[in-house]
């Protein structure tokens, strides 16, 4: 069973890692943030599977922290994107 969970963890991780190609290609900032978001969710899933496979109980707490702060970077992105737009609008007068 541990082998299966470990394998599933690796599979999920490998899958979302391929999704990181979107960070490379873009083209927009939004696409890049999406890839990071997918990696966040996938990372939480992989972490849970890893913790279950190795019997490391603390892994769940790490996953909880990650899930709690998952939105944080994206919110910062959205705020600065809208600030930048407001600046541009102000520059144009």
């Amino acid at each position: 069973m541990a082998e299966f969970l470990l394998g599933a963890s690796g599979f999920v991780l490998a899958t979302v890692a391929f999704g990181l190609a979107r960070i490379l290609w873009g083209p927009g900032d939004a696409d890049r943030m999406m890839a990071a978001q997918l990696l966040g969710t996938g990372g939480v899933g992989a972490l849970l599977l890893l913790g279950a496979a190795t019997g490391e109980g603390g892994a769940v707490d790490v996953a909880l922290t990650l899930a709690l702060l998952a939105a944080f970077a994206s919110v910062a992105f959205f705020k600065s994107a809208s600030e930048a737009r407001a600046d541009e609008a102000a520059d144009r007068g």
Partner: protein
């Protein structure tokens, strides 16, 4: 293999397939909004199924609560972030 183990295998495998689907959508769909669609559906379901599969294996109520809380947090974050990203992607500007 016990019934609980079988349940874990089936649910976790299904979750992994959803993660795969989400990634394929993120890589293959033509524009930001369709990619977002693929992403949010797939990663919420994927994580949900993984959590579901692991539930029979936790010891104690607290462990189960934490697992469910992780999924609910991911749902909330996913819903909020996809709206924010969609708004950023749709608004006019040199970079979407």
């Amino acid at each position: 293999m016990s019934l609980a183990d079988l349940f874990t295998v089936v649910a976790v495998s299904a979750g992994a397939v959803f993660f795969l689907a989400g990634t394929v959508g993120l890589l293959r769909f033509p524009d930001a909004l369709t990619r977002l669609h693929a992403l949010t559906k797939a990663d919420n379901l994927g994580l949900g199924l993984v959590v579901l599969g692991l539930l029979p294996r936790v010891d104690g109520v607290l462990g189960g609560l934490k697992l469910v809380a992780i999924w609910l947090l991911a749902l909330l974050a996913g819903a909020a972030v996809s709206q924010l990203i969609a708004r950023a992607a749709r608004s006019p500007g040199p970079r979407g």
